[in-house]
Amino acid sequence: MLRLFLYQRELTPSLITVALFLYFTVRAGSNFTDSLSLSSCAGYAGPVAGIAVGEVLLLVLAEIDLSAGQVFLFCPWVMYWLNGTVPLGVAIVLALLASAGVGAINGLITVRLNVPSFVTTLATNFILYGAVLVGSNEVEGSPIPLSGKTGFISSVMGVGTWAEIIWVVVIAIILAVVFTRTRFGVRIIATGGNLVGAAEAGVPIRRVKVWAFVVCSFLSGLVGIVDAIKYGTLDPGNFGVNYILYAVGACVIGGTALTGGRGTVIGAFIGAILIGILEGGLTVIGVSTNDFFIYIGVVIILAMALNAQFDRLVARSRSR
């Protein structure tokens, strides 16, 4: 039984998420389970999950991308600026390419210049923030194309109540398959689990890392576009670090070790859902959002402590 929890790290956060859901349902009844409240949970969880499922790849590699939250905000600005100059579809593609490009730059600086990714991405985070402030002249971005419109494409691209969370679920499923069933996924775990060993076994560790940065940035940008279309305006003062810290928190809650080699896409996704339900649920039962930060901090520490204990038990079972 214990083994199950030791080797299925997503199990504990899943059970806690279900327990939280039941708790809020019992406390608030249909106030919590109605679609307005659930969609606000999904609204909290969506951006966090969208960034976290890419971020977890980097954390498993024992790297980090602090700029992913800013890419999430930057990508829709690129779309907004280009729209009109080029058709919207082209603007979206170029914005996504720009996001992927930020990831490639993050990755190449990290592996070629040997700059710790914490520093590389801290810097690109500031640069992107500055680029948005300069490019927008601190004027709010509005109206966002597709936003507030009816029609199939608009609702799919974010206007529909559940569009963003469905995007994120689909992304999470695809990425989970990539992570557990493809050569790229195995090589991420190998590189993060034993860097020298993986290199000696012939894994192209630098290429694996750069691609992981690209994937993380690309997905953050993609979800960023959907999120912008959902809300309809772009605030140039919005700072990406807010998002990235939630995303890293979600990964940790989902069983990711920041030391590399351990963590899953599904875990990160569940961590984000847990955060969304906690935030939405506390709002519904009338706890102020200020208290939410205290709860979320406690949950993160408990999750990390639990994982550390699990790691110790795994180590002990080996030494028998």
Partner: protein
Amino acid sequence: MSAGAQPGGPQPPVGDGVAALEVRGVTKSFGALAVLRGIDLTLRQGEVLGLVGDNGAGKSTLVKILSGFHSQDEGQILIDGNRVSFNSVASARAHGIETVYQDLALIPQLPVYQNLFLGHELTLLGPLRLLDKREMRKLARQYLDDINVHVPSVDADAEQLSGGQRQAIAVARAVRAATKILLLDEPLAAMGARESRLIVDLVKDLASSGRVSIIVIDHNYAHLFELCDRINVMQGGRITLDRQVSQTSLEELTELMVSSYRRQLEEVQSAGA
């Protein structure tokens, strides 16, 4: 055995055909530290060559150059008489060179079968390179059975195995993948008697098949004498002795190592005086 023969310099290769691997004048420095000062070494086809020497003699550095992990500063490497240059582990591997390292290239968080195929993953068709897990499991099970390596399950993560089991997997991976040259850097380090036996037998089997040429680094002379056709001694970044196993003895090697150790000790003492 000609016990007591004078330690001499490297002997010219007694060539029967082209050498599987030839190293000519290879040097390597890390900053100011010259680790290899001109290595000349020949590995004949199907031969098992033992490499002995003190810690810091440069054996592991040489192995890391031959496996493409480092590149040499000067000198040449020839495979089957053709000059090659490696710029990555993958390029050395493309020439049929496989390596088992001292520091165990296993990934603790990956299952046995994925470790066994790491760097050679079997994938299904398609751009995603989906892993053929079923086939890899099956082949891993078969192969480990064939070579008598026992693990609880091929699905067990490497971190759940004993040190000896992990080493056996690391050796098995390289033995399986080697098509031309196998480099073993202390494959028996930290292994129990039973597991050492297993690895020695594994390497002997491979050697007797004649399909690969092997270089083994080890401190256990008894194992080396059992495994090897020839032994080279490395000291201070050079090869200082090259002997057929049939023409040397444990005593000669031991004496050589001890005398060099004594010399070093005297140098240190006279420097300190």
